[in-house]
């Protein structure tokens, strides 16, 4: 099983609902976030392109953060989810440095924190909070090892990209594009 998130940039309006839903679901302290929105504009008025998208930990198949963790607090669980065990984390920050997506932050309690794909919800058969709240329904979640899954089908039929492919991290968050 390989969990992946597929986000349709043609539908995302950048409203940040995913960010608040994650905060309230995961008790992320105010002032911090596990996911966020980016906006990029190209062209000159009035020939313009605007891309909005929701970003987070890419749960990389080749995760530099896991490799560089001195205590093993950063680890990979079933389905390829990259997790941090808070009480094993010494807060050295090596993983924060190593992540090309800037997906990790130091929690005020000292440990490093980041997106878990809402592992606790998956265990109950629920979608990650961000996916289930999105008013544009632009986020999809599922198993890429299953060729019949919605995410597999979307990647088969639609043009897509990943972020920072040059980093060689094999990210598992995909963006559908025009």
């Amino acid at each position: 099983m390989r969990y992946a998130m597929v986000i349709d940039t043609l539908k995302c309006v950048g409203c940040s609902d995913c960010v608040v839903a994650c905060q309230t679901e995961n008790n992320v302290p105010i002032g911090y976030c596990r996911d966020w929105i980016t906006e990029s504009v190209s062209g000159t008025y009035p020939t313009l392109e605007l891309e909005l998208k929701s970003e987070r930990c890419n749960h990389c198949s080749s995760a530099p953060c896991v490799r560089c963790c001195p205590t093993g607090a950063s680890h990979i669980v079933e389905g390829g989810i990259v997790k941090v065990t808070a009480n094993e984390c010494i807060g050295c920050g090596a993983c924060i440095e190593s992540c090309p997506y800037d997906a990790r932050y130091q929690h005020p309690e000292g440990h490093v924190d980041k997106c878990t794909f809402c592992h606790h919800r998956l265990e109950k058969g629920q979608l990650p909070a961000c996916v289930s709240v999105c008013p544009t329904k632009c986020m999809y979640f599922g198993d890429l090892d299953d060729p019949t899954s919605e995410v597999s089908q979307l990647l088969k039929s639609r043009k897509h990209k990943v972020l920072a492919p040059e980093a060689g991290t094999k990210p598992n968050v995909y963006y559908l594009i025009k």
């Binding site: 539908k11 409203c15 709240v133």
Partner: protein
């Protein structure tokens, strides 16, 4: 019986999902049956309570999750609610911040003069309510109850409306009409005989072509509208957006028409011209249901795309192409009526033009166009008839023949003593609306407030308006109170319940309680023939064939339609609600009143050299000024920025993130600076900012002084002569780079 069946379904859903962690399982799981026993990470035993959101007027039904101590932890949309389909918008999800905000109003406050200085003094509820009641009685005795004005918004408005009507005043108004959507209601009513209403009955999910005129869905988070726009994108609908700014919606459109501001009517007329003269309008619909088509055809004869090009700067081939796209999609096309439509003073006529276009395309009452909405009438709890006031909002609005609701600005004018004022207002109650941000022309507003004998404000937060009050009554948030049933117009009628998810924090009280307590002190016992709102709701639900017990479990109840089909069936005889019973392309009613029977383009002012048109709008994370201090939402956006085109930035020597002050055409200077955001997304003749920022109450620790307030800079208002709307888009600003307030700052 029903109970055990429900829990049985719940358990089986949990079991099944536990085994199969496949995407298929995800999509087949019904969140609402599952979530009852859910535990958020690190939080045990969450209990869920039915509510509906009060962060904006969409009023999405939701479940509030509270922990064992009664803290509200999260809010999740109700799956069965047509307003949200289980998905709240960011503001709704962040509604917990409204409850958690430490800056909330905490106890009643009374303005007192101590040692020659005016200050707010904490008071008990009895003290504050006694004072309000004695002031109200005094005003009634001296001037009549009519001289008490009510300015309101949202749910609290309903409770105080009943209080005012019972006491003999119908002197009320809300900014949601004259400062927002009034003109479109009048424009569509004149054409189709029906208000657009809220939520808009736009059949976006099934449309083939969605046309947005300055409407920025996706930045305004009118929840089900966004959801359906997303469906429309999935379905390959053509989206056409007319906006001088590359709005989010514009960026998702097949056609973005970057129009010169204030020229929309010219474009709309040219579209009519193409549809009619290229013969691509819905002939059958127009013949069967239309009135005045020949006059319209003659009227738009010369309004060619070439004519419109010179006015709008939109190229003729773009105008033709987009008109043809609409024609091809007809009748599954929507010229969206928009929502905040008070722009240039001829707004009812622009709304008329949009309605007429919909008429030509045959989209009103058609699948993929506009559906016929339906609503359940919630029975009134029995009470004696209201006393008949001698005058009220209707008399105040009399100079606008088609005003259908109170006009705030007229209520404000009648509050400024003037011997020519036939009707005089002496005291206000302001409930749930921050007038300082919702009413333009601050000077006039403050003049009126100054002249009042008494001002009582009811709010949950120390909004700017509270600073002017004589008495402040702190309402608890929507999560801490039971409220009126929400009855919504939609494809299917539905009702939604709001009961308290937790007990009120601090010394705050529900609006319904406050209104009743004042009512009892005014001797209106017979209008409050119940102990509390719960009793009223229980009675109402019983009348509707439901019960409080049932509603607590489901939150939302849908009812079958009674008014027939959502759409006109092929060839059906259909009576529209207009005077003629037809779709009125030509309005005899407007003509009789001395207005243009068909929309005409009239030129509006454009900024002089060195000035830029001040445009403003919504950010998806905030609802006007009321959410800016919400800790969760403030975390997403804590200030607004001034959008400036790179060319303008070069000419004016402005850099990204530089702080500037703005001065408008009347010499009014923004109180606070705003940071420049240099972006190609805005035209060179305009600047743009999000509305709601730049608040000046220091008690709002996060919102105070953050960004600039557009309302403060809107001092030139054109009033719509048809219905009294306050048009705000004719204000121009220039940049000031050195702090103009330096000398007076302490």
């Amino acid at each position: 019986m029903v109970n055990s069946r429900r829990s049985f379904i719940k358990i089986s859903a949990l079991g099944a999902s536990g085994i199969a962690l496949t995407p298929l399982a995800f999509s087949s799981i019904n969140e609402s049956t599952l979530s009852e026993n859910l535990l958020a990470e690190g939080t045990k035993n969450l209990k869920r309570t039915a509510t509906y959101c009060e962060v904006c007027f969409w009023k999405c039904a939701a479940w509030a999750y509270t922990d064992e101590e009664g803290n509200v932890k999260k809010l999740v949309g109700n799956e069965n609610d047509p307003h949200c389909n289980g998905r709240l918008c960011p503001r709704g999800t962040g509604g917990v911040g409204m409850y958690n905000d430490k800056d909330r109003l905490k106890t009643p406050l009374i303005r007192k003069t101590i040692d020659g200085k005016e200050t707010f003094v904490e008071a008990s509820w009895d003290e504050a309510l006694d004072l309000v009641a004695s002031k109200f009685k005094g005003i009634k005795k001296k001037y009549g109850a009519e001289s008490l004005g009510l300015l309101k918004h949202g749910c609290p408005g309903a409770h105080f409306n009943h209080l005012f009507r019972s006491f003999g005043s119908e002197t009320d108004a809300e900014p949601a009409y004259a400062q927002c959507r009034g003109p479109r209601e009048t424009g569509f009513a004149l054409t189709f005989g029906s208000w657009v209403g809220s939520p808009e009955p736009t059949d976006i999910r099934d449309t083939k072509c969605l046309v947005l005129i300055g409407s920025h869905i996706g930045e305004n988070m009118h929840n089900s509208q966004i959801q359906e726009m997303s469906d429309a994108i999935d379905n390959g609908a053509t989206i056409i957006t007319v906006d001088p700014r590359l709005s989010t919606a514009a960026s998702k459109s097949d056609y973005w028409l970057p129009i010169k501001p204030s020229t929309d009517i010219a474009l709309l007329l040219a579209w009519m011209h193409v549809l009619i003269y290229e013969d691509i309008y819905d002939k059958d619909y127009v013949e069967r249901y239309g009135l005045g088509f020949d006059e319209l055809k003659e009227h738009v004869k010369d309004f060619t795309p070439e004519w419109a090009y010179g006015i709008t700067t939109i190229k003729p081939d773009q105008i033709r192409k987009t008109a043809r796209a609409m024609g091809a999609a007809s009748p599954a096309v929507i010229i969206h009526p928009g929502r905040h439509v008070v722009w240039y003073g001829d707004d009812t006529q622009r709304a008329r033009a949009m309605a007429i276009l919909n008429g030509l395309l045959g989209s009103w009452g058609r699948r993929g166009g506009f559906y016929f909405k339906e609503k359940i009438k919630i029975p009134d709890f029995p009470h004696p008839p209201y006393p008949e006031p001698k005058w009220g909002w209707k008399e105040l609005a009399a100079k606008y023949p088609l005003a259908d609701m109170g006009i705030t600005t007229e209520l404000i004018r009648a509050s400024i003593p003037n011997k020519d004022n036939k009707y005089q207002i002496k005291a206000w109650m302001v409930a749930g609306t921050n007038l300082i941000q919702s009413i333009p022309d601050t000077k006039l507003l403050l003049e009126a407030i100054d002249a009042l004998e008494f001002l009582v404000v009811i709010d949950t937060m120390p909004m700017d308006i509270t600073g002017y009050a004589d008495v402040i009554l702190p309402e608890c948030t929507y999560l801490e109170r039971c409220d009126i049933l929400r009855s919504a117009t939609n494809r299917e009628p539905s009702i939604a319940l709001r009961v308290a998810a937790t007990t009120p924090k601090y010394n705050t009280k529900p609006g319904s309680w406050i209104a009743r307590e004042i009512g009892l002190r005014l001797g209106l016992d017979e209008y409050y023939n119940y102990e509390n709102l719960k009793e009223v709701i229980e009675w109402q639900l019983e009348q509707l064939g439901s019960s409080l017990e049932e509603m607590k479990k489901i939150g939302v109840k849908k009812f079958p339609r009674k008014s027939g089909s959502m759409y006109i069936t092929e060839g059906e005889h259909h009576e529209f609600g207009t005077q003629s019973g037809k779709v009125e392309f030509y309005s005899a009613e407007l003509e009789e009143l001395g207005f243009d029977p068909m929309p005409v383009y009239k030129s509006h002012d454009h900024p002089e050299q060195g000035f830029y048109r001040l445009n403003y709008g919504r950010s998806p994370m905030h609802t006007f000024s009321r959410t800016i201090n919400n800790p969760n939402l403030n975390d997403l956006m804590d200030e607004n920025k001034l959008w400036v085109n790179p060319k303008v930035a070069r000419i004016e020597g402005l850099k990204n993130e530089q702080e500037v002050w703005l001065e408008n055409q009347d010499g009014v200077i923004s109180e606070f600076p705003i940071k420049v955001r240099v972006t190609e997304r805005i035209r060179w003749d305009s600047v743009y900012m999000y509305h709601g920022f730049g608040q000046h109450n220091k008690k709002l620790s996060r919102a105070y002084g953050k960004g600039a307030c557009d309302t403060q800079l809107i001092t030139k208002i054109s009033t719509d002569p048809i219905m009294g709307g306050s048009a705000m888009r004719g204000n121009f600003v220039k940049f000031i780079t050195n702090n103009p307030h330096k000398d007076i700052e302490v």
